[in-house]
Amino acid sequence: MLQEPLKRKTHLSIALALVFFFVIYPLLVDAEASYLVFLFYTAFMYVTLSQGWNIAAGYAGQVSLGQHAFFGIGCYVTAITWRAGTAGYLDPLAMLMSGAGAAVVAIVVGLPLLAKLRGDYFALGTLGLGEILRVAALNGGSFTEGAAGISIPSDVYQSIKPYYFIALLISVLTMLSLWFIAHSRIGLALVAIREDETAASANGIPILRYKILAFTLGAFVTGLCGSLNAYFVFHIDTTGAFNLNWVIMPILMVILGGVGTFVGPVLGVFSLIAAFELIRLLTPQLHPIFSGAFIILVTLFLPDGIMSYLTGHKNRLLHKLSPFKWLALNK
């Protein structure tokens, strides 16, 4: 108890130092030619995606397998408004609209799903959502340009720096809002819902409202990432936008780092990216095999994630209670 303010201070200064490093790094090197700058940009994106999943799944216990739906919506909203000329290049308004679009879908779909489904059924339901949207975009006629996808000429591209800083900004803002939520009454309610929905409800927590809040917030930041991705790749089609990659990778990173923790997912993102890069470097041809083996080894020796390894306390109960607890308790 007494240590806490001190601890908080060191944590804060570490965080500030890291952010400072990331801010100046592209200014110190030749950003356009630096592979590391691109890698960091990717990492920031995954930090946001991971925390977007973590807030609903890790904190509130609502495991979504439909994050790629929100990512795809973000991509398409940006691409469509951009093509129509209502939004420009790297337009903050279009990015907000993309996030909002994802959030609206999260609310509309989340209301019935979160009210009715729990645990695995909710996870499967969200998986279905992603697939429905993918097929819809594929058959969307001239609105989504179907399988052809929407192409925007890439000659507006100037530098990777704006992407880098926007991704950094989004991830920092996501982290900040997550921190404030986790340390506020909302965070308390989310954890209570994860631990025991019945007890949470009996203690006056409007569980549906908070579940939707967490789910929607996660969808919003995921949509933002989708939007930035659309600006980065200049061509949006169903394979790229609604790729299952956008849901599997963040989940892996969060589990690797530590589900329901604040710093864990960040560690997960950086160590997974670093490990995959290293494996690619050492064995360019066989890297998927080694990447698979790496994941297996990590789970065998670090089953509770990096965070619990570092902090030293393995909270087994937390794991038992996290995402899939519902059926285990109610069969």
């Binding site: 108890m1 009454r185 308390l188 309610a189 954890v191 209570a192 631990e195 025991d196 019945t198 007890a199 949470a200 409800s201 009996a202 203690n203 006056g204 927590i205 409007p206 569980i207 909270n315 109960l317 937390l318 209670l321």
Partner: protein, 247 residues
């Protein structure tokens, strides 16, 4: 609504609830006054917990209504009931395992009653003190004993500043000294807070020692209601518990 000069806090009218073909509750009437401890006893499967779940809207009754302070509240969502003044504990303890004792109770204060900031924290501490857990407030619930968790649930329920608290077998799994402590806590809660308590219990002697009134359920029906000493003499009750005496 007055009853013998005291306010009636909770009133159940002809509550009926069945699962499939099984009649779990059959036209149960019951009322609890302010500051009163009412015991609810009955053999296994008599419908005690079902009655609790109907009151807290986990189940919707087939027939009948629930009134809180004279206002009809049947079927309102659980969390609204908590705001209106009904809090509860659970037979299978439901604390938030990864949170500390203090935060568990804080949830009761914040979400159960709508307090904020310092007020909520003070109320949580006060509730913890009342049940005697003040020195364990920073302990993560997962590491607590069953007895402490049961006390914690009571504290959480009280932190919501309810008109009535429903306690569901708070003594199950406790040893004799822990039971004595729990009895003290319940008594203290009533005395200090003037809160009404509806109490389901298996341990009949505990109920008889503390309750102002006792109601007995058997096969979903209320077979008796009255002062503890009357109930102890009631033939029907003895039959329900011990079976019919041989003729």
């Amino acid at each position: 609504m007055k009853n013998n000069g005291k306010d009636v806090v909770l009133r159940l009218e002809k509550i009926t609830k069945s699962f499939g073909g099984l009649m779990a509750l059959n036209g149960v009437d019951l009322s609890v006054e302010q500051g009163q401890i009412v015991g609810l006893i009955g053999p296994n499967g008599a419908g005690k917990t079902t009655l609790f779940n109907v009151v807290t809207s986990l189940y919707k009754p087939d027939k009948g209504d629930v009134y809180l302070a004279g206002k009809k509240i049947t079927g309102k969502p659980s969390h609204q009931l908590c705001h209106l003044g009904i809090s509860r504990t659970f037979q299978l303890v439901k604390t938030f395992l990864s949170l500390t004792a203090f935060k568990n109770v804080l949830i009761g204060a914040i979400y159960g009653h709508g307090m904020r900031g310092r007020q909520a924290r003070e109320e949580a501490l006060e509730a913890l003190r009342l049940v005697g857990l003040a020195d364990k407030k920073e302990v993560v619930t997962a590491h607590m004993t069953l007895s402490d968790r049961r006390l914690l649930e009571v504290a959480r329920a009280l932190a919501a500043k309810p008109l009535i608290t429903l306690v569901d077998e708070p003594m199950a799994g406790l040893n004799p000294s822990e039971i004595i402590n729990m009895l003290k806590v319940i008594k203290r809660a009533r005395n200090e807070r003037n809160v009404a308590i509806l109490w389901v219990e298996h341990k009949v002697d505990a109920i008889f020692r503390l309750c102002d009134r006792v109601a007995v359920l058997d096969y979903g029906r209320k077979i008796a209601e009255g002062k503890p000493e009357e109930i102890a003499q009631n033939k029907k009750v003895i039959e329900a518990y011990l079976g019919k005496p041989p003729p």
